[in-house]
Amino acid sequence: MLIYTFRRLLISIPTLLFIAFVIFMLLELAPGDPMSQMPLTIPPEVKERMREALGLGEPWYVRFPLWLNQFFIVEPQYWIDQTFGTNFADGKQRIISFQSRSPVFDTIAQRLPQTLWVVGMSYVVGVLIALPIGIISAYRQYSVFDQAGTFVSMIGFSVPPFFSGVLLIVIFSVQLGWLPSIYDTTLVVNSWDTFKQQLMQMVMPVMVLALQTTAQVSRYMRASMLDNLSQDYVRTARAKGMSESTVVLKHVLRNSMIPVVTVIALGIPSIFGGAIITEQIFKVNGLGQLLILALQGSDIPMVMTITFLLAVLIVLMNLIADVLYGILDPRIRYD
C-alpha cells in the first residue's frame, strides 16, 4: 500500500505539470490582452514598457519555468519563512497579481477562510443529511420515504444553485425577512449575539451547497446499502439472532461505507466549483468571487494560480480516494 501510494504520488507530478502547462498555454494563446482594460490614450511605447513591467516581455518557454519555480519553490519558501521565522526566500520574486500588485498567495490566504468555512460546513452538513437518507431509503426500499428521497435528490440534481439560492433569498429574506441575504465577512464572532448572526447568515449558502451534496451522496449510499443488504452475510447475521440494528448499522453500514467514502472524497473539488456560483449569489468574498474578479480584470497570475490550486485539489482527492479504497477494503489490491 505504501509503495502504491508512493507510485501514485510520483505519477501525479507529471499530471500536475501537464495541467499547469495546459492552463498556462490557454492563457497564453488566448487573444485576450491584460492591457485591454487600460485607457486608449496611453502611447504604444509606454504600453510596451508596461507589458514588460508585468513580466510579459519574455516568450512562454521562459515564463512557464519561471512560474513553476515561483509556485513550487519560492512560494513555499516564503510560507516556511513566515511560519518559522527563517530566511530561505531571501527576497526572491513572488507571484504578483496584475490588479492589486500584491503577492497572489497573500490575497488567497485572506479569502480562503471564508470559502473553507462556507464550503466545508456545507459539505459536512450535506453528508450528514445524506447518510441517514440513504440508509433509510435502502432499508425501506420503495416506501414513501424512499420515493420522497429519490424525488428530493432528483431536485438536488436538477435545480441549479443559482436558482435555488435566489429562491431561498426571495422566500427567507424578502418575503419572511428571517435571514440576511448578504454574507457579512467582516463579522467577528466574539459573543453569543455575533455567533447567532454568523449562524443566520451561513444558513442559506450552506443549504444551497448542501442540497447538491445530499442529492449525490444519498444516491450512492442507497445503492451501496442495497448491494450489501442482499448479501449472504446479512442473512447469516440475522440467522445468528443478531438484533436488526446491529445487522444494519454495524455489518451492512460499515461495508456500504467503503465506496461512499471515496465518493465523498471525490466530491470535494466539485463543491469548490459550485462555490464559485454560490459565493456570487450571497456576496461571500471567498475564492470563487476572487476568481471571477480576476477573470474580469484579466489578472492572469491570479487566475492561473487559483485554477491550478483547484487542479491540485482534484488530483490530491483522486489519490486520497484510491488509497482510502485500498485501506478500507482489504480485497482491493493495487499491486
Binding site: L26, M154, S158, P160, A311
Partner: protein
C-alpha cells in the same frame, strides 16, 4: 429520444414487437419519465412554435408599460399593475417577459442540444477508438484522465473571457458566442461518455459475433459501425440525456456569471441574472426563468432514469 433511435435502426422491425417497441413499453411504465418526456415536448414546442403564436417582439421597449406584474398578481392585490397583453408581466424596460422566456428557451435548448451532441460525438469517438484499438487505449485514456483532472468550470470561464471578442468579431455577436459556448461545453463534458463506451466496447469485442464478423473478413470500420455501435447505443443514449441536462445548466451558469450571451440576447440564465438585482420588488422575474431551467433539467433527468430502466435488459421484465 426513442423516436430518434428508431430511425437509426431500420432493419430492426419485421416482427410485430420490435426491440424498440419493447423499450417504449417499458419506458411508459416509468411515470416520472413519461411526465418528463411530456414536459420536454411541451417546453420545446413552447419555445419553437410559441413566438409564432405570441408575436410580441422580445426586444421591443415599451416604457409606458414597464414593470407590469404577472396576471395572477391581481388575486393578491387588487391595485397591482397587470394587463392581459402581458400575462407574465414586463421588465423594467417594458419588454414582455413571456416573449423573452420563449426566445430564451430557443437559445438555451439549442445550446443544450448542440453541446450535448458534440460531447456525445467526441465521447463516443474516443471511447470506441480506445476500446477497439489496443494501441490507442493507453494514450487516449490517459488523456481522458488528464482532462478529468482539470478544473472545468474555471477553465470554461477563462475560455469564455479570452475567446469572446475574437469570435464575436469573426462570426458576429450571436453566432460567435453560440459557437464558443457550444464548443466550450462540448469539449469539457465528453469524458464520462468516453469511459462508459470504452468499457462496453472492450467487453463486446471479445464476444463471438465480433469474432465471426472478423473471420469473414469484415474490416474494422464496418465492425465498429455495424456491430459495436448499435450495441453500445443504450449507454450512449442514457449519457446523452445526462449530457443535455448538464449542458443546459452549464450554459445558464455561464450566463448567470455574466460570461455568456450579450445582454440584449436573452437566454434563461441571462434573464435570471438580469432580474436578480430587482428580485425584492419583482420576484416573479427570477422565478419564471429559474422554473423553466429547473423543470427542463428535471424532465431530462427523469427521461434518463426511465431510459436506463427501459434499456437495461437485466432490469427489463421485472
Amino acid at each position: 429520444m426513442t423516436d430518434a433511435a428508431q430511425t437509426t435502426l431500420p432493419e430492426a422491425a419485421p416482427k410485430a414487437r420490435s426491440q424498440w417497441l419493447d423499450v417504449w413499453a417499458q419506458f411508459r411504465t416509468h411515470k416520472g419519465a413519461v411526465f418528463g418526456l411530456g414536459f420536454l415536448i411541451f417546453i420545446t414546442l413552447f419555445a419553437a412554435i410559441g413566438p409564432w403564436l405570441w408575436t410580441v417582439d422580445p426586444g421591443k421597449l415599451d416604457i409606458r408599460n414597464k414593470d407590469v406584474r404577472p396576471i395572477y398578481q391581481i388575486l393578491f392585490d387588487a391595485n397591482a399593475k397587470v394587463s392581459w397583453s402581458h400575462p407574465m408581466g414586463t421588465d423594467n424596460l417594458g419588454r414582455d417577459i413571456m416573449a423573452n422566456i420563449m426566445q430564451g428557451g430557443r437559445i438555451s435548448l439549442a445550446v443544450g442540444w448542440t453541446a450535448m451532441i458534440l460531447a456525445v460525438f467526441i465521447g463516443t469517438l474516443v471511447g470506441v477508438l480506445a476500446g477497439y484499438f489496443r494501441k490507442a487505449d493507453g494514450l487516449l485514456m490517459r488523456f481522458t484522465d488528464l482532462v478529468l483532472a482539470l478544473p472545468l468550470l474555471p477553465l470554461l470561464l477563462v475560455m469564455m473571457l479570452l475567446f469572446r471578442d475574437p469570435l464575436r468579431a469573426t462570426f458576429g455577436p450571436e453566432e460567435g458566442i453560440f459557437i464558443l459556448i457550444v464548443v466550450g461545453i462540448g469539449i469539457t463534458s465528453w469524458m464520462q461518455t468516453a469511459r462508459i463506451v470504452r468499457g462496453d466496447v472492450m467487453a463486446l469485442k471479445e464476444r463471438e459475433f465480433v469474432l465471426a464478423a472478423r473471420s469473414i473478413g469484415t474490416p474494422s470500420r464496418r465492425i465498429i459501425t455495424r456491430h459495436l455501435l448499435p450495441n453500445v447505443l443504450s449507454p450512449i443514449m442514457v449519457s446523452a440525456t445526462l449530457g443535455l441536462a448538464t449542458a443546459i445548466i452549464t450554459e445558464s451558469a455561464l450566463s448567470f456569471l455574466g460570461l455568456g450571451f450579450p445582454s440584449d440576447f436573452p437566454t434563461w440564465g441571462k434573464i435570471l441574472f438580469d432580474s436578480v438585482d430587482r428580485m425584492t420588488a419583482f420576484p416573479e422575474r427570477v422565478i419564471w426563468p429559474g422554473l423553466a431551467i429547473s423543470l427542463t433539467v428535471l424532465a431530462v433527468n427523469y427521461i434518463g432514469d426511465g431510459l436506463r430502466d427501459a434499456l437495461d435488459p437485466k432490469i427489463r421484465g421485472l
